[in-house]
Every structure is written in structure tokens, then in C-alpha cells.
């Protein structure tokens, strides 16, 4: 494995399998039965040039749970860069302070540029419209874990990706990861103009998967295993698209009625979050809260073991974790993992 994680494109089936396996090994720690201190003394530079509290805290907490310390930077207030410092200089300087870097930046390619200047592991925490590989990995880990619970396998599964499939960085990365596995059926549903890029459809098809493209959810999905929905960001629409899309937005919202009537009792619902819960928003509906098929919070929970796995693998402590475990001494609510989790 390269000692960076910049894109899912650098991952083959073996590497992904390794990360899934190590993530599973992190479950007793993520689930707070065990504690490890294997990264004691290590420092993570958690550099967020763009706000993303959820992702920042997730990486931060994952590194802490391995025993390390975290230096956060947030916002556009990174003073040196405002004074004309290059990414090269910033990278070289941070490499002397830290043992690993997570970087989020609004400009595509900037994380790779930063990584090219350093020997310490760099993880892409999202570079604008570019990549966000840890999200795709935790999504795949979630599907794998849910399927294990339900006695299903990826082979032959039916997965629906819906919403804005044109701009959705997460669905692009996820479909690439899924394509590494045994043949499955993938249905893509989006409003006209927001379709999955053809190159991605071709890639997945060429790897033996069956891909169907539709422009409506008005079908039977009774054999569906996963609905993965993403927000339709109206603010990105062209005038033409806004016209086409007027009045149809609700047709792409996933709500309880759709799951109850069109899907099955074992269909799980995923979303990369955050979702817009305000009245009138066309996002994943809150009427599914409390339904055990809603997997969105189990999905974000899985960010911890997967990000621990990424750190442990890049810092090569993945084989040391098990011998370092100690019992947790504080209170862990018995209900953790219940409710609609």
C-alpha cells in the first residue's frame, strides 16, 4: 500500500479487503469495550481548510482511540497560506511536526499536491469535487457489516444509488469500490441532467456488474438490498435544469412509504449525511427515524473503526493492536447501538 490514501483509485481488492478486516478488528475499541494506546506519542495534523465538523471530529476521535494526539486547524485562517505560502512549504513544515496528516481542502488536487511533498502518510479528507476515500470505505464497510448481520453477501446483491449522481462525490467513489467485488446489480436513479457519468457506468459494466439507469423511483424494488441516497443540491442547477426539475423533486425523496411499499423488510437505507431536515427539504425523510432499516447512524458510527483501520494500516500498527488491548474502565451505556441503530 502506498503510504498515502488519496483516492479510491489507488486501492485494489486486496487493499480494500485488508482495510475491512482491520476495521472489524477495531470494533471492540470503537464499541468501547477495549482501549489501545499503540499510537501513544504520535501526532496527527488534522488540517481542515474547509469546514466539515463531522469528518474532522471522526478522524480526530479515531486517532485518539489509537492513543495518539491531534493538532486541529480549521477554516481559511491558515495564516501562512494567506501570506502566499505554497502547499509545498506547508507540507514540508507540517511533516516535521506530525506523524500523519488528514487534509480537507476546497480545491481538487490540492491534497495530492500536499502529499507529493512529504514522506509521512497523508489521507485525503475531501478535496472539493475530487475524492473522499474514507467515506467510500466506511460506506462499503457498512454494507458488508449489515449484510453479515442479515445473512446476505455482496455477490448478487441489488444496490440502488439515487439522488444527484452527477455531482455526488461519495457515490462515485462507492461505485468504484463496489465494482471490485463479485457481480452485483446496481440501479442508478436520478433526475434528468444529474445522471452518473457514463465513464463510471462503463467501468462498472466492464467489470461484470449489471447496471440499470432510470429516471424515476416508480418501480418495484422488492429485491432491493440497499438504498443509498444523496442530497440533490438545487444550488448547483443550471436554469434549464431548474425548469426540468420543478415539481419533481419530491419524486426522488426517500421516505417510509417508499421503503414500506416498494422495498422489503431487509432493505437498508444509507446516506452520507448531513441531510437537510428542514420542512420542505427534498432529502432523506425524517419519517424513517426509528425504523431499524435506517442505517445512517450505524453508517457514521462505522467511520470510527474504518478511520482507525486507515491510520493503523498507514502507520503499520495494524498487527500490534490486539496485543495492546486493555479493558475500558468507564461507563458505556448498555443502549449504545440500539434504538434505531
Amino acid at each position: 500500500m502506498s503510504h498515502h490514501l488519496l483516492s479510491v483509485d489507488s486501492l485494489n481488492r486486496d487493499r480494500v479487503d485488508h482495510l475491512l478486516r482491520i476495521a472489524a478488528r477495531m470494533e471492540p475499541i470503537a464499541g468501547r469495550q477495549k482501549v489501545t494506546r499503540v499510537l501513544e506519542g504520535a501526532v496527527l495534523g488534522n488540517l481542515f481548510f474547509e469546514a466539515s465538523t463531522r469528518t474532522r471530529v471522526s478522524f480526530n476521535a479515531a486517532f485518539c482511540r489509537l492513543g495518539g494526539s491531534v493538532c486541529d486547524t480549521t477554516g481559511f485562517t491558515f495564516s501562512s497560506m494567506a501570506k502566499g505560502e505554497s502547499l509545498y512549504d506547508t507540507s514540508r513544515v507540517m511533516s516535521g511536526y506530525c506523524d500523519a496528516i488528514v487534509m480537507r481542502h476546497p480545491e481538487q488536487g490540492s491534497v495530492a499536491e500536499f502529499a507529493a511533498a512529504t514522506h509521512i502518510p497523508v489521507i485525503n479528507g475531501g478535496d472539493g469535487p475530487g475524492e473522499h476515500p474514507s467515506q467510500a470505505l466506511l460506506d462499503l464497510y457498512t454494507i458488508d457489516k449489515e449484510f453479515a448481520r442479515l445473512g446476505k453477501t455482496l455477490k448478487g446483491a441489488h444496490i440502488l444509488l439515487t439522488g444527484d449522481l452527477l455531482h455526488g462525490r461519495t457515490v462515485h467513489s462507492l461505485i468504484k469500490l463496489l465494482s471490485l467485488y463479485d457481480p452485483m446489480r446496481i440501479t442508478l436513479v436520478s433526475p434528468p441532467g444529474l445522471e452518473m457519468p457514463a465513464a463510471l457506468v462503463d467501468l462498472v459494466t466492464s467489470r461484470g456488474h449489471r447496471v440499470e439507469v432510470r429516471d424515476s423511483l416508480a418501480s418495484d424494488f422488492s429485491d432491493l438490498d440497499v438504498v443509498y441516497t444523496t442530497r440533490i443540491q438545487k444550488e448547483r442547477f443550471t436554469a434549464e435544469m431548474s425548469e426540468t426539475f420543478a415539481g419533481v423533486s419530491d419524486d426522488f425523496t426517500i421516505h417510509k412509504r417508499f421503503i414500506d411499499q416498494r422495498c422489503s423488510p431487509s432493505t437498508i437505507v444509507m446516506h452520507p449525511l448531513p441531510r437537510d431536515s428542514r420542512t420542505g427539504a427534498n432529502d432523506l425523510n425524517v419519517d424513517l427515524n426509528g425504523d431499524p432499516r435506517l442505517a445512517i447512524f450505524r453508517q457514521t458510527d462505522n467511520g470510527i473503526p474504518m478511520r482507525m483501520a486507515i491510520f493503523a494500516t498507514l502507520l503499520q500498527v495494524d498487527d500490534l493492536i490486539e496485543e495492546d488491548l486493555r479493558p475500558v474502565r468507564w461507563f458505556v451505556p448498555a443502549q449504545t447501538g440500539t434504538l434505531d441503530r
Copy 2:
């Protein structure tokens, strides 16, 4: 004890006594003679949607001194919520990352709403005009500790609350906690229009305490044990109040002359801080700096053992601390705790 700390209203005498007792047990750690690592591996989400550096650092330091790690978020830049994420979603997500949450938010009730969606312990760090229970607890702990030093007891004590008793969240919570104890005498002095709400006065009276309400400090307070003063926030005044209040503001300022001439050598002076030290401010006067009766910095110091006690109790490690103590190895200034402390 509920596994949240949202309001002093949820605390009875036993629970408060327990927290005071555990806080006292934390003194060797807060005073840097001892170190514990009982929360090693635990992660605190320290979510400040409203700036309050003092409170944020105090909670952060208290958690660190128990051996845990802290993820801070500050300001209104919590990007997900700006995009329409509900408190429910934020709570569910953060619960997967952290073992406890401290939350400060400008809107009353928001912390309780957040807490309702999670099983991990949530501590209210202040929700606008609502509650700030850890402040009231450290205030009570300060009175208790100062009285022990001076050979006094809460029973029969004379406590003066002054300043803005209408808006002062801290005095409302403190008077509720005091009312749980043996009968004492409480004098309330505020400018007209800024009196303590009648419901609170009735509550305290009904529990057997003697409450006197006045509109001036021009009295004899030679038997006074505690002056607790709060800032009068002129920016909250109505036009009518501004008129009434014009020219009398200094009459409610606590300064050295008042303590010297009206009170006694053992009267202690408290304030929730921050105070406005600029010339012309009508806050607690700086001429008391250096006077041993000024307890305001001992009071903020007490935030550490009390917040450690809150964490230790909610995370149920309060009985493990003593067996886990190790000696501090670094330099602790001999003068800590002296000067006007």
C-alpha cells in the same frame, strides 16, 4: 443519577452532596500533586456553538486531567447544522464518535433536545438564558470549601446575591442549590426592575430559608458570609429601566470600601466572571485584587475539580480514581494557591 446533567432541577440533596464529595477527592489532581489516567481512551465532544473560552477550556482541562482526549468544536461554523442538519442527527452522529458531550448553545432547550437523542452522557455547558449547572455546582463547592477553611457552616449563613438578579442565570441556579441545604439567610439586592423572579423567592422561602429583598446596598452587612455579585448588563435594559437606572449604577458595584466598611474580615466575595475591568464599568471593582477575601479566582480554580467530579460521576469512574493515582513529575510552582488566592 440520570446520565445527563442538563439542569440543577434534576439534582437533589444527595446528588449534590455526592458531587461535592467527589470534587474534594479530585483536589490532589486539580492541585497537581497527583495524576490519574482512568479515562484513558475516552473521547469528549466539547461542542461550543457559542463562544465561551473560559468554560470550554475548563471542561477540556478537566477531562484531560482524568486521562481522556477532547475534540473541540467552536463557533457557528458547525457546517452541517448550517446546511439544515437537525439537532437529532447531530446528536446521533456525535454519539458514535464520543463517550460524553459538553454542549453550549445560544438557544434555550437545545441541549436538552440534543440529549434526548443520545445515550451517552450530555452536560449542559450553558444554553442561552437557560441553565449552566456546572457553574452553580462550582459556586456551591466554593462556598462549602471557603466555609470549611473559615470554620463556618452553610446552616445559618448569611449570603448576599446582588447585581442583575432578573437575567442572571448563575444566581438562579445557585439559589436553587443553596435552598436544598439547612436554613440560611439570603439577601437579594438589585436595582428596581432587575429583581429575582418571585417564583424563585417563593421556592426558597418554602424550603425554610429567610429571604430579604432590597433595592440598595446601603445597610449594615457585618454578619455577611458571602457576597455573590453579577454584572448588570445595561444592553438588556428597556428604555424605562435605563432612565430609572441612570446615575445609580455605581451603587451596586462591589468595591473594597464596601467590603471594609459594611462587611467583616471573613466575608468572601464571589462573581461568576468574566468581569468588565475597563474604566467606568460598574462590575466588581479591581481595587479588591490582592485582598484575601476576593474569592473569584479560587472560584474559577474550583471549576476543575467540580467538572472532573461531574465527568467521573456520569462516566462512573468516581470510585476508581483513588486506586489509579500517580505522583506528578513536573514542576508545580510553590506559589500556586497563594497571592490573593
Copy 3:
């Protein structure tokens, strides 16, 4: 040693030598061969009232590598001070939360004012045009380390300081530290109007060093050991200076041609960073990237062992480090310290 570090003026030769020695002892930790936990349980208040990500992260990482925990505050959002809280109050409050303070503040003298109110160690992380002693110490440490590698000594060395020598806080502090050592030759080159203050030149001369002042780099520097260059901040120019300076700016830029043609294969190039890498900037040129004589990233790397040395000395654990060392367990890239480092 005073238990603060506010200015290089408080340091004599013995104290500086001690810090250089302790910094060297930190190398196995800074170089990630070893881990220490000697400050486990200690809390650093890292108070940055002015943005300086590089310095903030460097202090943060140094404290973490000693085993301590860090509470960061950044920006002008320190809410209490906005409400009129004095530095005295802020200092007293923070002293109850933390075991040491690093403070950066835009106003000269503010860090000293803060330090006067507390018994815990305070380190000046830069107070506007005032002092930034840890930068000068890491600069001196870099020269010392580079010289040891090259078989050189400070005695008799030839050091060039160039750029804005009037406003450059770092060159003022560095020249004071250098002046404590055996006689050397110091050449000062700056545009007219940006000369080193005469009082500093007199001080250095009075201590037996040979100082030459020039207004151009057009000379032979074949015996030069160090070029220390600083950015010329045009935004600070008066109208008259702008006129004088027009067209000559490039004459003070250090680039590969200057080093190749005028200096020697063992001349090292230093800069306090950040540098402006944008096209047209008159800062240290990027064409030296990759040249082993460019010491700027080794220089920032040295911030970690030097800041660890400062913390260890002020907190009096400098003699405990060696007995507390444990091996690092994670991956350390073999290339660290190579490339142009």
C-alpha cells in the same frame, strides 16, 4: 532560570547552552525513534490571540510529544476579553486550568503583562513587534546543529543577515543570542531605510564581534557559513521608502544563482518562514528547493526539539526524560530527514 520565557534578553550564555543541550537530548523523540510520557496529566494552554498556525501547531506537537495535553484557543474570538476582561483576570483564570501557557498576542508587552499575574510558566509565542524567543532559539540550535554536521564552529563563523533588518523581529533576537558566543563575523545587508537598529549593532560590536553593514549583496561571500534571509514587507513601507526601493527589490532576493556563484558548497540558507512563493514575490526563491544547502525545513523541524526543551526546562522535567524513554511502535518513513533536508 526564571520560570517564564518572555524575551531572549533574560537568557545568558549558560541558559542558552542548557537549552541547546536539552534540545539535543530530545532528538530521538522529535525524530520518532523514542516516546516519552513524562508530562502525562499536564495541560498546556496554547493561547493564540493572533493567527499563527505554524507556531501554534509546533508548540502543540512539542507538548504532546512530552506526554501532555493541549487546550488551544485561536483568533480574536476570546469572548471574555471582548467583554472587557483584563489580561490580569484572564491570566489568573487560565492559571487554574493549565500547567503552562504559550501566548501569542498582537500587542507588544501583553504577554509580559499576562505573565506578571501568574506563577505558572508562560512562554512568549510572539507579541506583535516585540519578542518571539523560541524562534531565535531554534534558529541558533539550527546553526549549531548544521555546523556540527559540517565540522564547523560558531567561533570565527561568517553569518549574513539580510532582508528587512529594521522590522524583522527574528533577526533582532537571533543577533542577540549569537552575540553571547565566541567572536564571529556578522554581515548585515538591507535596502536603505531597513537597516538593523544601531543599538543592536553597538551591542554586538561591544561583545567582540566584527559587524559589517552593507546595502547590497553584490560582493564575494565565498567564506560565508550562513545566509539568514527575511521577507521585505513592502506593506510597511513609507511613501519615501517605496520610491527608494522601487526596482531594487530583486537585488535582495536569495536565489540559487547567488548561492552557487557568490557563496560556497557549505553555505547554509535559513529563513524564519513562511515565505511568499507566489510569482513576483521577492522572498527566498523556490529555485533552491532540493538544494541540500537550503536548511529552512530542517530549521522548522528543529522547532520541535527546541520547544520540547523549553517546556521540559520550565517544567523541570529535563532530567527525567532519559529514564522515561520507550520505543516508538508506529511506522516512521525511512526518508524522513532526506530529500533536501
